[in-house]
Symmetry: C2
Subunit: 448 residues, 2 copies
Amino acid sequence: MQKKILLTESEMPRQWYNVCPDIPNGLQPPLDPGTNQPIGPDKLSAIFPMGLLEQEMSPESWIDIPEEVLEIYKIWRPSPLIRADKLEEALGTKTKIYYKYEGVSPSGSHKTNSAVAQAYYNKKAGIKRIATETGAGQWGSALSFAAHKFGLECKVYMVRVSFDQKPYRKVMMNTYGAEIVASPSPDTPFGRSVLEKNPDSPGSLGIAISEAVFDAASREDTNYALGSVLNHVILHQSIIGLEAKKQLEKAGDYPDIIIGCCGGGSNFAGIATPFLRDKLDGKNIRLIGVEPASCPTLTKGKLAYDFGDVAQTTPLLYMYTLGHDFMPPGIHAGGLRYHGMSPIVSAMVREKIIEPMSVHQIECFEAGRLFAQTEGIIPAPETCHAIRATIMEATKDLNKPQTILFNLSGHGLLDLSSYEQFYAGSLHNYDYPEEAINAAMANLPKVG
Amino acid sequence: MQKKILLTESEMPRQWYNVCPDIPNGLQPPLDPGTNQPIGPDKLSAIFPMGLLEQEMSPESWIDIPEEVLEIYKIWRPSPLIRADKLEEALGTKTKIYYKYEGVSPSGSHKTNSAVAQAYYNKKAGIKRIATETGAGQWGSALSFAAHKFGLECKVYMVRVSFDQKPYRKVMMNTYGAEIVASPSPDTPFGRSVLEKNPDSPGSLGIAISEAVFDAASREDTNYALGSVLNHVILHQSIIGLEAKKQLEKAGDYPDIIIGCCGGGSNFAGIATPFLRDKLDGKNIRLIGVEPASCPTLTKGKLAYDFGDVAQTTPLLYMYTLGHDFMPPGIHAGGLRYHGMSPIVSAMVREKIIEPMSVHQIECFEAGRLFAQTEGIIPAPETCHAIRATIMEATKDLNKPQTILFNLSGHGLLDLSSYEQFYAGSLHNYDYPEEAINAAMANLPKVG
């Protein structure tokens, strides 16, 4: 048996796959919150470069990856597909488990795939500086690296709870030359208003997005970059699934189940969407998106138009949401603490193409530890959600011969403080935060 | 240009290369400190399994890698050889720079190569538990992982200064199921005696070795494992250079210079020794071992018999040494804070096969940051020494077409606190600690 299935650089995909045209019944357009009418590229161009806006709304199924982006992808791509035979053995299962390992990127996760593309298109548009937010720190690290590669400045608003728990993330971003501030921050009017109400606010992705959007909108030389949710981000991440498909072919295999963790949806959609056409053509393949029980957007949220941020500054997106002012408990998988979900993933859940699943964090860390002890790699807390679901599927019927592909979206080497708390027994499972969700749901914007 | 030169699992070497028979004028045997006579395997078998002792003294040039070890190597090996074209570009040099990336192993460094082999032979000998020391934490992490793989318990004595600076290392070792204590520790008589004299002792590898050896010698079920210095460790690390040679052949290249950092000597010897026969056959190839100016074993030490540890419990090794009770300044490259040097590397320096070089830490961190910004990977502080030397060689004459191969022995993701201190400007360069070295040199054991 071959443990690692590798592709050469010349086998790396030269095009991204745009799933949008293939989604049955399509996507609802983003709306201008002022008029409730579909928002055009002109208005969005204040904070996004036209190259990305074209991708955001493209009807094309395949989009060329620019040479300059491929050149940087080659630093770590193609990423390996690895057979988790030692995990299989520990579980005593007949299920074959493969994982696509995106932790090999410089910043340690799949986020770098989109960061490099976004930095490239911003540079091409003459932008000098990018502002962004980061939850767990994976996206901020990725964008810091990518921005430096294209000679752009980078300012990162990092969710306070992660900022405090993960000091090494800041050092990594500093290494790549970026400026970092804990969010809510004193650097923006919205950050200051949150701090006035609650100086100890743990922050949230929704708050940090508001700050970064404000920063970008208020400076001519600065654009905004988002690490998940939007169509162009999912587009860039499709390289994960495109590579995995080629690699499984090489291994003479095909997945019965594809699993990824879901925060904004980008790593899951990245690995899953390139298999959509096969599924629509009748292939019997399950796509499982895994979210935390404490922030259960897909399993307990509502499909509706909502803001992407707390300050209500973004366009309205049609997505599963818990309400833009839902404040999730401070669980350690900071990358999954988001009230909304990518419109692409949302539409695929609506169409029953994707099965959502929610899991509790302690079981996730248990899964992560088992994975580290068997396969060697210590996974990020976010990724542990995918591993937990993989283990559940692989052990439902130990004798069922089936194949699971999951996305090991990032390593957990900069998240070891959360493992430490897990070993110390100081982590809790948060039950479905019903009251907070109901309150936030009541604040959804009225549309149409 | 191909960025990454990969080998398939079937191209992975099936034998380790034992350099000992090829070293001109050979090695001096280790001595029993009681009798000053060569020490036999019988006496060493109290703390080492016979499988490793046979390797330690083997006259064979090639030794088969057991299937069980290859099986675990396949988790991350063969490791990639990567062309540092983006670093070359930043330097404006015509030198071609390749690096062998050993940071892909589960514990993040080359140490895993020997850890897996050592755990295997101990398991085979019926041992239940291994005691060891660790400086920076790389070796302790590697052995924790390897021991768990073979169902062995593992106790790690971690040099206090690293223990405090690198809390994530402890969490990693815990993840792999090991028990960790800061050294000097209250767990051994020698540790207690050091603590009595100096409760704030920062520790040293020499002290931690004494503790681990005592632990192993005092328990029937426990053996000792050393992560560098000894011949069998260098043997296991030869897989690095053997792979690199194959990979350079694939790239149609051959190194003019091979560079590695030197603490105990294992990563440097691992990449360099497989090229020794070519050098002896007349190939014009320079082998450069790089050590910290604050612990200048090869450049300022003496070639003599000395103890491997502070408590004078190990056999006497014929090696470059600063004296077994030399206490190096607490620089951040904990893996390079060792008074001695592998007898193999020492003999090759004696024969003028290896050129030793010493560098200061601040310049090393500068080199590490430039490497991260260009090549993406944040290197371990130890590895930064090799990168610093590589940059010096590549920029001596920018127009000289030459090829450098260096060993990127480990990533620095668990060492980011030292980068943080570097950015904050709170690191110092330690000059040659002449007085401390002179004092320690006066205490060398009298032999012959």
